[in-house]
Symmetry: C2
Amino acid sequence: MKLPNVFSNPANIRSCPAGTVIFQKGDEALEMFVVQSGEVEILINGKAVETIGPDGFFGEMSLIDDSVRSADAVAKTDCTLLPVNRHHFLFMVDETPLFAIHVMKGMANRLRQADQRAAG
Amino acid sequence: MKLPNVFSNPANIRSCPAGTVIFQKGDEALEMFVVQSGEVEILINGKAVETIGPDGFFGEMSLIDDSVRSADAVAKTDCTLLPVNRHHFLFMVDETPLFAIHVMKGMANRLRQADQRAAG
């Protein structure tokens, strides 16, 4: 899913070399991220639970429920990220229902994976 | 969060005595449910992972990603449920961004709980 151009201004793109800690569990959260290139790993208590590639997103939970980060995010490879702050996020949900469905699909997918981990 | 009256027509309300199996893992899914009264338990492999009370909702994941049920849902007490089918769900997301945020908050809450189970 492509974000509107207003959000994908190249000036906003953040470059992260492999190994960069993007955020850590407990951090205050101001934005979510859409991966433009490369891969980001999500870790819970040091254990990788998900790898997110181009067009995937992460960090949306803290925007939704206004809470601190629940996991760590680390650049698995060199990567470029598009930050989306809370204001932009709410604007997107408001103006682009497909964006809301896209975010919900990503969350549903994570919930199913989490359920499988719990069951396994 | 209250749903628009068009969805809460009393004719649509479903009454379930305690112990009723509302759906089971693997079932085809046509609707999500908003709890009007009573409590519903969500079980994964026979283990209760969540109890949902009045104004809570469940069963949204299958509507979002068009897949089969990933858990069992059983009436913990006598309860009344308002079914919301896919058409209504997409209409609500389209017309009521607050509904989309409400659903996302519920999913974020479940993800945090699932992460805690995995970490524990």
